[in-house]
Amino acid sequence: MMKKMSLTILCALFLAGCWDQDSLKEIRMPTILSFDSHDKHDISGRALIRVPIGTSKGEEKMTNEQIAVTGNNLLDCYNKIDQRSSEKTNYSQVQVMLLGEDYAKKHIKNFIDSYLSLNKSSYNAQVAITEGKASDIMQKRKKNTPLLDEYLTNLVETGIQLNMTPNTTSKIVHNQLHDPGYDVVIPYIKETKQEDILALAGVALIHDGKYTGETLDTEQTELLLAFMKQYGEKMWIPEKKELETMPFLINKVYSEYNVNEKTATADNIDITYNLTMHINVNEQSDHLLNTPKKLKAANKKLSKYYTAQAEKLFSKLHESSCDALGIGRSLIAYHNDLWCKLKDDKDYYQKISVTPKINITIVNTTMTR
C-alpha cells in the first residue's frame, strides 16, 4: 500500500502539464499576421490581436489591437512582436496571414518555412496575398462592419466553402512550394474602389516560390478550380450575352489529359486536357429547353464558350509559367522520360502547351428550386 501511495505522489509531482500551461490571461494570440517589404531589405510586420474591453454597462466587448514592427528578417519581426506586446505571444490561433504584393514577389517560401518553424505555429492558417500593401488593408476599419479579424477570416473561409478560392493552409502551401512539379495559387484580396470594402478577387499566380504579379479574376479562378475538381454550390453565370439565360450548377466533373508522346520534344510537349461537366441548368420561363434540339444547341454553345474561356486561362498560366494544375507532377509520375528532359529548367511550364477542351452536357433542368 505504501509503495503504491509513494508512486502516486511521485507521479503527481512530475505531471508534465504544469510546465506547459498557458493560461489565457497570460498570453496574447494574434489572429491575423501581415508582412510587407519595407525599404530594400527590411520587413515590416503587423500582428492583429483581439482584446476585450469593458464597457460602462459592465458587459465585455471585443476590439482589435495592432502591433506594428520593422525588422531585418522574419524571425526578428516575430521577436519584436514579442517585445512590444505586454504578454507572451502564442501563434497557435493565427487564422489568416496576409502578404503584401511587394513582399510576395520576393519570397513566399522563406515566409512559410519560418512561420512553420515557430513554436506552436498553426498548420491551418490561411495564406492570402493583397493588392498593394498588406498593412494598408489592416488599417481599414469601418464603423458598421464586424471586427477586422473576424471579417477577413470569414471572407477567406467562405471563399473556400463556395469554391471561389482554393484551400491554401500554410501546410498545403508549404507542401506545394517544395514540389518541383507544382505551383501554388493563393487567394488575392483587393479593396474595391466604389464601396471601399475588402473582397476576394481571384487568385495570385505563384511561380518558383515567388508571386509573378499576374492574377486570375474570379471567373477564371472558378474554371481553374473546376479543372482541379473543386466545384460545388456556386451558381455559374456565363457572361456572353446569348447565354445569359442559362445559369447553371455543376453536378459532376470528369477530367482527363493526354500527353502526345509521339510529337513531344525537349522544347515542346503537347497536352490535351479534356474536361467533361455534367450540369444542372436553371431555366428561365421565356427560354425553355424543352426539346432535344434546343438542348443539343445549348450544350454546344456552352461548350464552345467555356472552351474559349479555358484557352484564355491556360494562355495566362503559360505566360506566367505557373503550373497550377500540377502537370509537372503528373509528368514525373506517369511520363518520367519526358520529365527527365525538362527537370533542369525551372520554367518548364513554358515548354508545355496545353490545349483545353470542355464538353458540357446538360443532365437536368429546373425552373424553381
Binding site: 498548420y123 509520375a333 506517369y334
Partner: protein
C-alpha cells in the same frame, strides 16, 4: 496453467511489442534512400521478419524448457548460454533507453516544449518500474485489454486518406539498384520486437503446435500491413522536398487537420499513441527483469531487479542528451539489433540443425 500463455495471447504480446515508437522512425532517412517506393521496402522488411520468425520457431519448438536462458545453457554450454542471455538483457535495456529517450524528445518537440526532458523521462520510467516486476499473466491481460486502444488508434488513420495525392507514389521502381534493399535495412529496426518471440516461446505450453507459428505470422502480417499503410499515407501526403524538412511526418499530417472544434488533432493522436509506446516498452522491461532474475540464479527478488532495470534505463536516457551521443547510440543500437534479431537466432538454428540433444531442465 500458471505462467503459461495461449497462442492468441502470444499474438497480442507480439503485436504490442512491435507497434509503438516505430511509427516515428519512419522519417526522412528512409524516404531519402527508397524515395517514393518506400512502401515496397517495408514489405521487403516484413518478408525478412517472417523468415526470422520461422527460424526462431524452427529451433525453439524442438525442445521442452521453461525459460530461454535454460535453453541456451543446455543447447550451448552453461557459460556461453549465460553470455548470450546477458547480451539479450543488454539489448532489452538499450531498447528501453532508446524508447524512453525518443518518447521524451518527441513529446517535447510537439506537445510540451517547456517541460524539462528529465520530467518526461521520469514519467515513462515510473511506468516501467511499476509494471516490470509482475507475472506474465498480468502482462497478458494488459496487452489483451490494450488491443481495444489499438483498434481505436487505427481509426485515427482513416481520415488521413482524404487529401492524399496518388501521383507521389509513381514512378514505381525508377531508381538505383539496391535502394529498395537499403531502405528495407533502414526500416528493419521498426520491426524489431519479433525477437522477443525467442523468449516468449518459453512461456508457451505446446511449442510444436502450428497455431503458435500462425499467431506469430498473423502478428507480423498485421504489422507489415499497418506500416505499409502508414508509409503510403506519408508518401502521398508530402512532396519529396517537403519531406526532407519534416522531422516526424506522421505527426505533421495529424497537425494539419482540423475538424470542427478539434484544432490540434496531433495532441489527441499522441495522447493515445503514448499507450502503445508504453505497452511496447514494458514488454522489454518485463523481459529484461525476468532475464536478470534467471541469470542471477533467482538470488535477488524480482521487485529489486525491477528497480535495477528502471535505474539503468533512467541513467541511460539521461546520459544521451546531445545529438552526438544520440547518433552514436543509434549506431551502436543498430549493431546490437542486428545481432539480436538476425545473427544469434540464425547461429542457434544452425547449431540445432547439427545437434539433436535433449535439454535437461
Amino acid at each position: 496453467m500458471k505462467n503459461k500463455i495461449t497462442p492468441l495471447q502470444l499474438f497480442f504480446i507480439l503485436l504490442q511489442a512491435q507497434i509503438g515508437l516505430g511509427i516515428f522512425w519512419i522519417d526522412k532517412q528512409l524516404f531519402q534512400t527508397a524515395k517514393n517506393n518506400s512502401w515496397l521496402s517495408v514489405i521487403i522488411a516484413g518478408l525478412g521478419t517472417q523468415i526470422m520468425i520461422s527460424v526462431i520457431w524452427y529451433f525453439t519448438k524442438k525442445y521442452k524448457y521453461s525459460n530461454t536462458t535454460s535453453l541456451l545453457r543446455g543447447l550451448l554450454n552453461h557459460k556461453l548460454g549465460t553470455c548470450i542471455s546477458s547480451f539479450y538483457t543488454i539489448y532489452f535495456l538499450c531498447v528501453q533507453i532508446l524508447i524512453v529517450f525518443m518518447l521524451a524528445q518527441i513529446l517535447q518537440q510537439w506537445v510540451l516544449p517547456e517541460t524539462p526532458t528529465m520530467a518526461l523521462i521520469i514519467i515513462t520510467v515510473i511506468s516501467i518500474l511499476y509494471t516490470s516486476g509482475h507475472s506474465i499473466q498480468s502482462h497478458v491481460y494488459f496487452y489483451s485489454f490494450m488491443s481495444i486502444i489499438t483498434a481505436v488508434c487505427f481509426l485515427f488513420f482513416i481520415p488521413a486518406l482524404q487529401n492524399v495525392d496518388i501521383r507521389y507514389l509513381f514512378p514505381i521502381m525508377h531508381m538505383k539498384q539496391f535502394a529498395l534493399l537499403k531502405g528495407a535495412a533502414i526500416i528493419f529496426v521498426i520491426f524489431s520486437g519479433f525477437e522477443t518471440l525467442l523468449f516468449y516461446m518459453g512461456y508457451v505450453k505446446e511449442k510444436d503446435d502450428p497455431t503458435v507459428y500462425k499467431a506469430a505470422t498473423w502478428a507480423n502480417i498485421a504489422m507489415t500491413v499497418f506500416y505499409t499503410f502508414v508509409v503510403f499515407i506519408i508518401t502521398t501526403s508530402f512532396s519529396p522536398e517537403a519531406l526532407k524538412n519534416t522531422p516526424q511526418p506522421i505527426v505533421a499530417i495529424f497537425k494539419g487537420y482540423q475538424y470542427g472544434m478539434i484544432n490540434r488533432y496531433d495532441d489527441l493522436f499522441l495522447g493515445l499513441w503514448l499507450f502503445m509506446i508504453i505497452s511496447s516498452v514494458i514488454n522489454y522491461s518485463f523481459l529484461a527483469t525476468q532475464n536478470m532474475y534467471i541469470i542471477t540464479n533467482k538470488k535477488w527478488r524480482l521487485y529489486k531487479l525491477s528497480f535495477v532495470n528502471a535505474a539503468i534505463v533512467f541513467s541511460g536516457a539521461v546520459y544521451i542528451n546531445n545529438i552526438q551521443k544520440v547518433n552514436n547510440f543509434k549506431t551502436f543500437f543498430g549493431w546490437l539489433c542486428l545481432g539480436a534479431t538476425i545473427i544469434i537466432p540464425l547461429l542457434l538454428a544452425i547449431k540445432t540443425f547439427f545437434t539433436h540433444k535433449e535439454i535437461k531442465q
